[in-house]
């Protein structure tokens, strides 16, 4: 093979990332030994006009990629057999990244975002966190200020608030659930997400109706450079998505997931004497995204989300602790939302964004005798106009409304539950409701951002909330002032403070004349927060960052259970609920992030206190009062695309209410517990170590990934609850999950 002196036809090619086939722009491509060089364009394309025929070596040496040296043969222009329509066949050069690890210790800081109370987790970055099962929503537990929920819980508890005080949003629109059954997985495919935001104490006026905070999930933009796909399978579920261009300007993503955890549980429970599954628990979800510009000023997007959870099982005999629980149980929760959104740029200084959420919720539960069905139409509206009024003043005006129309049909034996202790259902009364219910919750806000000086920014805002329910026909209107301030001490140190008032609508059942009390009103809370963010990296991507702060909340008019009988309309009726509760939560939180490649990690710590008061009880620790919350995560990237990571978690044990006696209900052969001082005892502290190993195999046009995630690797028996004997005279502890390995495989092209 000698070196030719003749010249070839023009040659075009592309430089792509190996595995993902992402086009790489501004990459220098050398053709040796001719010492010819060209740069790739934005689409990763390159072109040599006058390349000599004969053997050459492609050399590409780009930052962040392994050096490419690839031998090739350039056909002579006269060699028609080697040419395609007279041109050189297109070349594809694949560069392998030095690391395909997506793990970084990135929690978006407060300094550069609109709401200082917000912490964002980039979905792609936290997907491989140990113990999170690849789910960015489950990774929220690692953040400071997020309390550890009960096992199998599908709740996010923010800074000592109640689980019900957290609202869940997808692209700004409320959804009934954010996690599937038992908190196993979130309802949106993790690979379709851009980020997950948590809004905590002092959150801004554009959101409301949550005393604790919000968890807001945002879908990502589909990629357009080619059709891209991903499929995964693990011990719980399998799924995947396809994304790519749609027409000349559009882009789309369609994804779905289906679980088979039920089949596993069903097999485990098959030989159990007490119960079996007639239809295993199953969950699934789907997501669709379509985006396209309508004009230079208008951007349109529509997101569709659907979720389904079902479970059927049979208790072969009455449950020991409560014989009224028996027989066939069927439960299902389904919902969908269609969320179209339009962004319009009115001028260089004014833009607006409008979106609606349309959907239905189906929540059904029934036994052989009892049933509980709620079918809801939901319509939510968000709109905001933002105007830069001057170089020092930016304002936003917006609405945040929710309308729900529900049909409620239920026939249930309901039992009293207070202090974390429930009375037996057998002693409860059978209640029936068949009614249409309408909830209207409207919010309007005016938010301002004044840059008072290069260092000071003041953010005063006002939100007006109107809450109306057809259950009691009462409209409540709340003017809610909120103000925040930022101080840029230096380029690397930012300080913040925020305060405001918040309100939350009572749950519909609390207003129901049968199950609740039409006199109940909306509870409120006052938030105060201060914090800082220090970046030690001095412009580098490597180094340390530290953020933290204090928070304080004061809760008023909390809705609490009541066992009193009252006179209403001349008749003796149960009060069921009152606004007699109050409480406070306060604490300090800190997040230290490290990125010292190949090592990375974070250390999250919260020191907190949360208490409540209600009639008949002196101030007591709240059910989720966890004094210390500590999470340490460390990861190391190893050669050949291996990554090892570990998580250590410590949490103060949850308070529990002691049982000080019991009385035998001879009608139902069951015991009624007598509660001691609420939450005056505690479970032992929780701690757990999780390990995870990730490995990627990079092929030219696709990537194969596998992971092994081992939760509770030391098999520690954490005490999660107290279990009592039938007469409450003896007790034993209920352990948490034992060592739990999970294996998963993913392929993407």
């Amino acid at each position: 093979m000698g070196l030719s002196t003749s010249h070839a036809a023009p040659l075009e090619g592309k430089v792509l990332e190996r595995g993902t086939r992402t086009p790489l722009a501004d990459i220098a491509v050398y053709a040796l030994p001719h010492r010819l060089k060209t740069l790739t364009d934005a689409q990763g394309r390159f072109r040599f006009e006058d390349l000599p025929s004969g053997p050459i070596t492609w050399v590409v040496n780009a930052a962040g990629f392994l050096k490419l040296e690839e031998r090739d043969w350039i056909a002579d222009a006269s060699d028609s057999r080697a040419l395609t329509s007279g041109a050189q066949p297109e070349r594809e050069l694949f560069l392998e990244r030095q690391s395909y690890a997506t793990y970084e210790t990135t929690v978006t800081g407060r300094a550069d975002q609109r709401d200082d109370s917000k912490r964002s987790l980039k979905a792609s970055q936290v997907k491989t966190l140990p113990g999170a099962g690849g789910d960015p929503l489950k990774a929220l537990q690692n953040l400071p200020g997020v309390n550890r929920p009960a096992p199998f819980s599908s709740q996010v508890i923010i800074q000592g608030s109640a689980p019900r005080d957290t609202r869940y949003l997808i692209n700004g629109h409320e959804v009934p659930i954010i996690f599937h059954f038992g908190g196993l997985s979130s309802v949106v495919l993790p690979d379709a997400l851009d980020r997950v935001d948590t809004l905590t104490a002092g959150y801004g006026a554009e959101y409301g109706r949550a005393l604790g905070g919000l968890v807001s999930v945002w879908t990502r933009r589909p990629r357009t450079y080619r059709v891209h796909g991903l499929a995964f399978v693990d011990l719980i579920n399998a799924g995947g998505f396809v994304e790519g261009p749609a027409g000349e300007q559009g882009r789309f993503l369609i994804g779905a997931r289906q679980s088979y955890i039920g089949a596993i549980l069903g097999a485990v429970a098959k030989d159990n004497d007490a119960f079996n599954f007639t239809l295993a628990p199953t969950f699934g979800d789907l997501v669709g995204i379509y985006e396209r510009p309508l004009s230079q000023r208008d951007e349109f997007k529509v997101v569709t989300v659907g979720s389904s959870d079902t479970l059927q099982f049979l208790l072969k005999q009455p449950v020991d602790a409560d014989p009224s629980i028996r027989g066939q149980f069927n439960t299902s929760t389904r919902f969908f939302r269609i969320i179209p959104e339009l962004q319009h740029t009115h001028s260089a200084r004014t833009r607006s964004r409008w979106s609606v959420g349309l959907g239905r919720d189906w929540i059904k539960f029934n036994t052989s005798e009892n049933y509980f069905k709620i079918f809801t139409w939901a319509f939510t509206l968000r709109g905001e106009v933002e105007r830069t009024i001057s170089d020092h003043w930016t304002a936003q005006w917006g609405v945040d409304n929710a309308y729900t129309w529900a049909r409620v049909d239920l026939l249930l034996r309901e039992a009293f539950f207070d202090g974390g202790v429930g009375n037996p259902f057998g002693g409860g009364n059978l209640r029936e409701v068949g009614a249409d219910s309408k909830q209207i919750r409207t919010g309007a806000y005016w938010r301002n951002e004044f840059k008072l000086s290069p260092r000071w920014t003041l953010l005063p805002s006002l939100r007006v909330e109107a809450i109306r329910s057809s259950a009691n026909g009462v409209r409540e209107i709340f003017p809610l002032g909120r103000v925040a301030a930022r101080y840029h001490w230096s380029d690397s140190l930012h300080l913040r403070a925020a305060t405001g008032r918040y309100v939350q609508a009572p749950e519909p059942r609390e207003l129901d004349s049968t199950f609740g009390n039409p006199s109940v009103r909306a509870p409120t809370s006052w938030h105060g927060a201060m914090g800082f963010e220090k970046d030690f990296r001095a412009g580098s991507s490597r180094g340390w960052r530290w953020s933290g702060g204090t928070f304080y909340r004061n809760f008023q008019d909390l809705v609490v259970p009541s066992s009193a009988l009252i006179s209403r309309n001349g008749q003796i009726v149960p009060e069921n609920f009152t606004n007699g509760g109050s409480g406070r939560s306060y604490g300090f939180e800190s997040l230290l992030q490290m990125d010292l490649s190949p090592w990375s990690g974070w250390l999250s710590y919260t020191l907190g206190r949360s208490t409540r008061q209600q009639p008949g009880q002196s101030e007591y620790p709240f059910q989720y009062d966890q004094t210390h919350l500590l999470t340490a995560i460390a990861a190391i990237e190893l050669p050949k695309n291996w990554r090892l990571s570990s998580r250590f978690r410590y949490a103060t044990g949850n308070p529990t209410t002691p049982i000080v006696g019991a009385s035998f209900d001879a009608d139902h052969d069951v015991y009624f517990p007598s509660r001691g001082a609420f939450y005056s005892q505690r479970l032992q502290p929780f701690f757990q170590i999780d390990l995870r190993a990730d490995k990627k195999w990079i092929y030219r046009k696709w990537i194969l990934s596998a992971y092994l995630d081992i939760q509770n690797v030391t098999n520690r028996k954490n005490l999660e609850a107290i279990q009592y004997s039938y007469n409450y005279q003896q007790s034993d502890v209920v352990g948490g999950l034992p060592i739990l390995p999970t294996l998963g495989v993913q392929a993407e092209f």
Binding site: I177, P318, T514, Q571, D665, H668
Partner: protein
């Protein structure tokens, strides 16, 4: 609350609950074990009465198998009062102010609870406690809704069994209705071992692992109507539950549906004694079948 339990945000707790229901701790006593001081049943001659009925009587079945031999004596006391709202969370106790009628403490007659009956029997001996039903003009009845009066206003009967420093508290409801057919106690006529009457065979527990089945008397499972809180009439049929008790050995289930049998594993030695009660879900309780007594 049940609504919470099965609502979307509480399904995790629900999952935990039913998983736990099948994974009870081995360290905890089971309700089938006749061991500590306890009340087993409060059997009313009429679990439901119509307004105007003068009285009903209560037969308390009690047990103190484990420590009965060491007791110096027992006493009981009782009281009646309007339901303070037990279903809505009120403590199942009659306060001094609300008590309509009371009795005791009454010493349980010597020889009532003995080693021969495993310290298990009727606390009142051959008799029963008679309680008076309040009149329609009393505050017990006035101010009640039509739904309550139709379904029954609950009169609470509180029964307390005491020995030394130990106390066993219990209660039951007597439903007082405005009119209509009243609930009657179900009837447990026999228990069979492999289809042979236990009374007709040995009268004792089998010496090897066997299935025991309850024989339910005709008409025990009654149909009735109830007025719902929405004001509609609901036709219902009672759910019958069998409660099994033993001094030794082990039943597979503590309670079973009336149509189910229950497997009994005898102890390695000794002759256990046991009782079987049948309950409907409206306060009706059968007289027990006793085994090995």
């Amino acid at each position: 609350m049940l609504i919470d339990l099965f609502s979307n945000k509480r399904q995790g707790a629900f999952l935990a609950l039913f998983l736990l229901s099948g994974c009870g701790s081995d360290l905890l006593d089971e309700s089938q074990e006749l061991g500590p001081l306890r009340v087993l049943a409060l059997i009313a001659s009429s679990p439901e009465v119509n307004m105007g009925t003068a009285s009903t009587s209560i037969t308390p079945w009690v047990s103190d198998f484990t420590q009965g031999a060491t007791r110096s004596g027992y006493s009981y006391s009782w009281a009646t009062c309007p339901d303070p709202g037990i279903a809505y969370g009120a403590a199942p106790q009659c306060s001094t102010a609300s008590t309509l009628e009371s009795g005791g403490p009454v010493a349980i007659a010597p020889g009532t609870l003995t080693a021969g009956n495993a310290y298990t029997g009727v606390a009142t001996g051959a008799g029963a406690i008679t309680i008076n039903i309040p009149s329609s003009s009393s505050s017990f009845w006035t101010s009640r809704s039509l739904i309550e009066k139709t379904n029954g206003v609950a009169l609470i009967f509180e029964f307390t069994l005491t020995t030394g420093t130990e106390t066993a508290r219990s209660f039951r409801r007597i439903l007082v209705k405005s009119a209509g057919a009243s609930n009657t106690n179900p009837l447990l006529t026999d228990v069979t071992v492999d289809s042979v009457s236990i009374a007709g065979a040995t009268g004792s527990f089998p010496s090897t692992e066997k299935k025991l089945a309850p024989i339910i008397g005709a008409g025990s499972q009654e149909s009735y109507t109830t007025l719902t809180t929405a004001g509609t009439v609901l036709n219902k049929t009672e759910t019958l539950t069998v409660s099994w008790f033993t001094t030794a050995g082990e039943f597979q289930f503590n309670r079973t549906d009336s149509s189910s049998s229950n497997r009994f594993t005898p102890p390695e030695s000794g002759a256990p004694k046991g009782l079987v009660f049948l309950r409907d879900d409206r306060g009706g309780v059968s007289a027990p079948i006793t085994i090995g007594f």
